[in-house]
């Protein structure tokens, strides 16, 4: 597989200029994610009103894949319901963990589909999914309680 399929322009752009790379104000849910394999750290912040994610952001360090994934995730989930977010989580998870040969229906994921390339790089799947796992933990977290994956 060509490296350009992994490092697509969209991904490189989100890496260079991550969206929502900030702590939203106000914020009422958060979680820390940690990849002990590589030392990547991320904190995802949510402001949830009712069952809608009104605002969200992230902070941390990581590779281009993990940063771009976090950035695109925050872009997509803003304004979505918790139920929608959970569905996105499942679909994203399926996409990045499917066997490299399997055909993946990722149309519904929109631009997130550019991250499907990580399937070809098993060592990098965790980079793409760290932000999502952290977001899921944040959704389930009590107000302001930090939970580590």
């Amino acid at each position: 597989m060509d490296l350009r399929e992994l490092y697509q322009e969209v991904i490189l752009d989100h890496n260079k200029r991550p969206r929502n790379f900030r702590v939203p104000d106000p914020v009422n849910r958060r979680a820390e994610g940690y990849n002990p394999l590589c030392g990547d750290k991320i904190t995802v912040f949510l402001y949830v009103e009712g069952d809608v994610i009104k605002d969200l952001g992230f902070q941390g360090t990581g590779c281009a894949i993990s940063k771009a994934s976090a950035s695109m995730m925050t872009d997509v989930l803003k304004g979505k319901t918790l139920e929608d977010a959970n569905r996105f989580f499942d679909q994203f998870h399926d996409m990045v963990t499917a066997p490299a040969t399997a055909e993946v229906k990722s149309d519904h994921l929109g631009k997130l589909a550019v991250l499907s390339g990580v399937r070809e790089y098993p060592m990098r799947v965790k980079c793409a999914s760290l932000a999502w796992h952290t977001m899921k933990a944040a959704m389930q977290a009590e107000n302001n309680v930090v939970s580590t994956e």
Binding site: L3, Y7, L12, C38, G62
Partner: protein, 412 residues
């Protein structure tokens, strides 16, 4: 003079001894620069292990039959080879373990358990691998003791000026890396040992990264414990060695209970076997010990002075050409270094560097290298690390630099 020595060293002939090196990765010749993680194995080691299973396989120390006798002999011969390799006074001071990690845990759980008490201190350094931090942290936590850390400089050298102040009446043991796995720094073990011994404090040396690059003489170093791994010395995984001073080993309680470490067992009481068997419970890695012995034989047949000169030349060359790549900063610039080139490149994360290099056939390690406190100290989340061994060449370093151009291209 070093050029003469280096030219006498035929790296292409050495490379032919390592079958894996002829491989292609993603269609490119393999450039294996991850030797600090594990080294490749020469055919002689692979053959010795196959022979051990194909011809001499039996359990040791208990059979009266010929195969068991042969297996026992091979295992004990390997012990003597290692004794000579490390210049230990006595073969009984060589304990077979799974690797450096187990060697350190053995000392922490036996010597440490008996000698470290409430309010005592264990001294390590800021550049230790997690395997020379966590075992001490565990025993300190259990005993209510304190883990003290000798600081380092920005270049990655120990702050030797602070050592005296950290060696106190409460210090029960000093544990230090001979060579830093992340930075390549060669630490002044002799000086540390001298200072610690003046206060009657024993010293454990983590030798994992040293043995493949320099002759190690435990008597010259003066250390009390020296732990090493076979797989970082061109030998198999799952076998390593702990050298310990005999008087200390004899006073230490056993590590694990089981077969081979006893001389008599009743349900009331067990009498332990003598050193080293006391520390070798259960059937050991017999083929592994044979493989490690073969690795030492292989190295002995080489001129280690020429090997060292070759590696020094590679390191100097690598430092020069890597340092000249725009945006690259070498992390770890100690004056006394083994052949490790840790680096960062602008704002490109080491993981992305690693993936792109792999596509070019270049294998390096990226991440924190199991030295998270060190990474934090040096203010980098991770580094890319090229670590060299005797079979590496200047052309391979050129391939590394060439592959870094691809990284630059993608992350323009």
């Amino acid at each position: 003079m070093s050029t003469n020595v280096a030219s006498a060293f035929d790296v292409q002939r050495i490379r032919r001894d390592f079958p894996i090196l002829t491989q292609r990765i993603h269609g490119k010749p393999l450039v294996y620069l991850d030797n600090a993680a594990t080294t490749q194995k020469p055919q002689a080691v692979i053959d010795a292990m196959v022979r051990s299973y194909a011809e001499d396989n039996a359990n040791i120390h208990r059979g009266v039959h010929l195969l068991s006798e042969r297996a026992t002999q091979a295992y004990e011969e390997a012990r003597v080879k290692i004794q000579k390799f490390l210049n230990a006074p006595n073969a009984r001071e060589i304990i077979f373990v799974r690797g450096t990690t187990e060697g350190i845990n053995l000392v922490a759980q036996t010597y440490g358990r008996v000698n470290v008490g409430r309010g005592d201190q264990v001294l390590i350094t800021h550049m230790e691998h997690h395997s020379n931090i966590v075992p001490w942290q565990m025993i300190c936590e259990e005993k209510g003791a304190e883990l003290k850390v000798l600081p380092i400089t920005d270049e990655g050298e120990l702050r030797m000026d602070l050592l005296d102040g950290l060696l106190t009446d409460r210090t029960k043991i000093v544990a230090v890396a001979h060579v830093s796995n992340s930075l390549g720094t060669i630490n002044p073990i002799k000086v540390i040992v001298e200072k610690a011994h003046q206060r009657g404090i024993p010293v454990l040396v983590d030798g994992a990264q040293a043995v493949a690059h320099m002759p190690v003489d435990v008597q010259a170093l003066g250390c009390d414990f020296y732990a090493m791994s076979g797989h970082k010395l061109f030998g198999p995984t799952g076998i390593g060695v702990l050298y310990g001073r005999l008087t200390l080993l004899e006073a230490m309680p056993p590590y694990q209970g089981g077969g081979d470490m006893i001389s008599a067992v009743t349900f009331k009481k067990t009498t332990y076997n003598a050193v080293p068997n006391k520390f070798e419970a259960g059937t050991p890695n017999i083929a592994g010990s044979v493989g490690l012995g073969a690795a030492i034989d292989y190295l002995k047949a080489l001129d280690f002075t020429a090997v060292s000169a070759h590696e020094r030349e590679l390191l100097a060359y690598g430092t020069r050409v890597l340092g000249a790549v725009p945006g690259v900063r070498i992390v770890g610039t100690a004056s006394h270094k083994a052949s490790v080139l840790s680096f960062v490149m602008d704002d490109v994360h080491p993981h992305d560097i690693g993936t792109i290099l792999d596509q070019e056939g270049v294998a390096i390690r990226t991440g924190h290298h199991c030295t998270q406190p060190l990474m934090e100290r040096l203010c980098v989340p991770a580094t890319a690390r090229a670590s060299l061994a005797l079979y590496n060449t200047k052309e391979e370093i050129d391939a590394l630099v060439g592959a870094l151009a691809k990284v630059r291209e993608i992350f323009a």
